[in-house]
Amino acid sequence: MNARAGWRHSLAMYGKLVRMSLKAQLQYRTSLYLSVAGQFAISVVEFAGMLALFSRFGEFRGWSLAQTAFLYGLVNMAFPVADAISWGFDSMGQLVRTGNFDRLLVRPLSPVLQLFGMELTVRRIGRLAQGMLAFGVACVLLARSPDSFAYSFADRPLAALAAVVSLSAGFAACVSVFTSLFWIRAAFTFVTVEGLEAVNALTYGGQQAAGYPLSAYRKFLQLFFLAAVPVGAVIYLPACFALGKPGIPGLPAWSLALGPLAAIPFAFLARALWSAGLRRYASGGG
């Protein structure tokens, strides 16, 4: 099989695996509808909580409600997407403990692809709705006050285009960073199935942290989310570029648009850890 046919086969298999998982999830319709509806309701409440804080404090470190909700919405859309596609990684602990991971290895398909295809979690739509709600409100508010954006297509088309591209790439990069985190967590299950909760600090913690402007945090935490686990770098910096915020003082504005690139080395790191874990598993060190 040549490389291209291999890719096409992999992609087709991913599609089929996802279809299976959707079919399986529809077996528990009541539970599914309840989760989605419930999650959506609670999303509205949480967003209302944010509105309440804005009405009390007026602004957030110089960011208006519209601007903050814009960032918050992007992150809270990216996280559930990543969470939904990487549910298989989430269940690695159980797969390794019960020995069911072996059955993935006796099939002629990459185990990573099989894990990705294990479940596309529909339940996360409820969470996604929260991000969409915030993002939608932000877009409406921002449309009413066009000067919230640093560049307009009329005045500086190139910069405005760069902002759009950077933000779109930032969204994808944000999904990628969260997915990498789930992947890293899965790699750890080859070493230990205990104590994985610690990685939640990075996944759920990262979601929470990146939903607000990074300038909210003390230096060490900012640095952490810019360089170590770049959930901040990939989405906060493009948002700063688009909204005309300083981002990282001292850096030229255009460089902020490059933030999404940080997702690439992080994905490689995740892949390297996973391969190391898989080698360890195959050598029976588990």
Binding site: S31, S55, R123, A198, G205, A216, Y217
Partner: protein, 272 residues
């Protein structure tokens, strides 16, 4: 009484076996606490708006106590009960000459108390002693507002533990309905974490959500006791808070028993 104590001790011992999980949970909780307390510090540092009903220091106390006692909140069903119900081994518990509700209540209480006990000491020590020494006095957990404030906090937390156990048993009973269990658990987790004040400190809210939060029992699990610790509620108001908890505890326990018996009756009819 003795068999219930034995059930309590047995469940407590099993929790100790998961020390690594507790350590990992602690790490995660500290990270969440850091993020949340810095976000709130930023709100407080922002210009304008109405004056906040709590000082930043009181808010920091609120956040760190929330992280420390997170494991005590009824945000998930007791995994042991869940497995018992799913595997059908619940039948074995029915053979014991004990009241099933109180048996489960004690076991769940043991699980909640021990797993939060394992975590809270370290988190409180970190937030209370380490943070000021790391130069983050503003973010640290302040000492209780006084001996009587601490006493009120302790009593209300004990009541919160009982309430949490009764809510957890009720939540676990939904596991009998396998088709909707996961959905209900997810909703419940979200409701508990918001309306107990873990997402946003409840005093900072206003308008209709604040009104709803005030009526629901979940604030008695965290928000109420936490505010006594920092003196955000004067000690004089403690009896009212206690009665609020007591009323809800009675209601949830009674409701939970009825609910459990309903599930068991359905089980008997289904013949499994």
């Amino acid at each position: 009484m003795r068999p219930y104590l034995a059930a309590f001790r047995a469940r407590a011992r099993t929790v100790f076996r998961y020390r690594a999980a507790a350590a990992a949970g602690m790490f995660a909780q500290v990270a969440f606490g850091f993020i949340l307390v810095m976000i709130l510090e930023s709100w407080y540092g922002s210009a304008g708006g109405a004056p906040a009903p709590m000082t930043m220091s009181q808010t920091a106390a609120y956040v760190w106590l929330g992280q420390a006692f997170f494991a005590m909140l009824p945000w998930n069903p007791d995994p042991e009960l869940r497995d018992l119900i799913r595997s059908g081994e619940v039948a074995r518990d029915l053979l014991r000459p004990l009241d099933l509700y109180w048996l489960w209540f004690t076991r769940t209480l043991a699980w909640r108390l021990v797993s939060s006990g394992l975590r809270c000491a370290a988190i409180l020590a970190f937030a209370g002693f380490a943070l000021p020494r790391l130069g983050m006095v503003d973010l640290a957990l302040p000492a209780p507002a006084g001996a009587s404030a601490l006493a009120c906090f302790a009593v209300l937390m004990a009541m919160a533990a009982l309430m949490s156990a009764s809510m957890t048993v009720a939540l676990s009973c939904f596991q009998f309905r396998q088709v909707s269990a996961a959905g209900i658990t997810a909703i419940f987790a979200a409701i508990v974490s918001f309306f107990s004040g873990l997402t946003v400190p409840l005093p900072l809210l206003d308008g209709p959500i604040a009104a709803v939060a005030g009526l629901l029992p979940f604030r008695a699990l965290a928000d109420l006791p936490f505010r006594f610790w920092s003196g955000a509620i004067p000690v004089n108001d403690a009896p009212a808070a206690f009665l609020f908890q007591l009323a809800w505890l009675a209601a949830i326990t009674a409701g939970g028993r009825v609910f459990l018996n309903m599930q068991l009756r359905d089980l008997a009819v289904a013949g499994s």
